[in-house]
Subunit: 304 residues, 2 copies
Amino acid sequence: MHNKYIFSNIIGTFVFNEHFNIIKSKLFTNKEQYNNKEKFEKEFLKKYSDLKKPEGKELKRILNSFKSNEFHKEFRKKNIELSKKLVKESVNDDNFVIQTVSNIEELDKVINMLVKRLREWFSLNNPELSHEIFDNEEFINQINKKTKKKDSMGADLKKSDLEPILKLTKQVQELFELRKKQNEYLEKLMKSNYPNLQAVAGTNIAAKMLARAGSLRRLMEFPSSTIQLLGAEKSFFRHLKTQSRSPKYGYLLQHPIIAQAKKSIHGKIARAIASKISIAVKVDYFKGKFVGDKLRKGLEEKFQ
Amino acid sequence: MHNKYIFSNIIGTFVFNEHFNIIKSKLFTNKEQYNNKEKFEKEFLKKYSDLKKPEGKELKRILNSFKSNEFHKEFRKKNIELSKKLVKESVNDDNFVIQTVSNIEELDKVINMLVKRLREWFSLNNPELSHEIFDNEEFINQINKKTKKKDSMGADLKKSDLEPILKLTKQVQELFELRKKQNEYLEKLMKSNYPNLQAVAGTNIAAKMLARAGSLRRLMEFPSSTIQLLGAEKSFFRHLKTQSRSPKYGYLLQHPIIAQAKKSIHGKIARAIASKISIAVKVDYFKGKFVGDKLRKGLEEKFQ
């Protein structure tokens, strides 16, 4: 039997004769042709009646014939193109969540640094204000209102000395605004991509867990007990090293159901929430239908 | 001789008889009256012919008579008022410089944090840009231009995913802008209040030295050798503790005359600049006339 072989790779579709020499080929010029290689294979199959797919030893010989220099260059080029495409396609919603969570954390740090500075600087003008108002955002908003007390210890600043303070204040206000906007964006991302996780854990906890795990897939693979302790890594490792008590919850401490409950049952609730989150994540990963509200309700009825 | 005594303190002006009882008084109702106490004393002097200022034992008895509860309250109140006034007046240009220097340093940190974040986040869209452009400000400006290469590995982001990135970018651009404005303000402050120091050391070094010293007065009291090492405290103390080499300059390393010179004479130039700065600071403190340009020129001619 004198078989001919048909074989496709990233470079093109080839027809080999029984001596494993190429007798016909279609070289791909772009990635779309590679993706539609079946089309070209069909055309060849029509033309040659005795084509078969190589197997075992035949496949080995065909693969060997691609080792020549001529093909090597082409392979390299096509492979880089393909890798680029895969990298490009690997960006998904997990990445956006992780970036946004990190950014919100960074914004918090930045805002704290600048408000600290403003508290010190503005105290030259109005030292009483910083002592009266502990909340950073309210403090910033009060600076602009210029409600300085008549017997304030603060100096009366020239306009040119007050101006840089007010400019910094405005900047910090905008940073607060940006933080809110990023939070809204995060909420939207979570609700549309991880509806079940979001419903059970809430936007912030859900996003932090996702960021810590690195991807929805990895979070899904965590056992419920790991989910329960996410965010408590530090005290957990301290527990392993020394004889300190094991932590009962990490990010989950901020969960409203836990925050409202007695401290003595915090650990118990954390375990229950973690197990529901574990379910929710799996449903999200496999694009199941929305059950987040039921899971959440079950928890609320049990513990509230 | 039956002397009467006249005595003023922060509460008022008093006339005492020979038994050290108050026979006449003018209580001050505000700080301005206290500052003009000579006026009231004159009036009393006209009225009573035999008034004298108490001395020695007489003064002691008069001071004792103010120990009563009635005066105590009044003293406390007036003293607080006076202290407030002194605190208020203690705010001077040194404070503005110190605050501005700290703020610029803080802004640098903040900008670095946020640009780092942006480099990571924007790489989802255009990973090549961050590798091509090292300068933070230029990188930020390029983000807006959207000059993405056709074969970029970056994903094509939806508008809603790109928006938060661009908002953060805008914020960072404004922070860069604010930093420039604060620098201009600092330059103006330095030139108008410390013209000699500014001329010899340059705005940045001068302001940092002032901030490190805490005030112009303290900077003036530093010997030239301390000025030379300002900003090198860490390695200086390491030198004292271990056998490491003594530092030759701190902030002064950034001085253009040193930056342009061979490394072997850096120490020598730093010593010369420090001694001129020491002169300039004294002239500024005692509000002498402007000699900064001459001092600077002398240095430049010697070392350039």
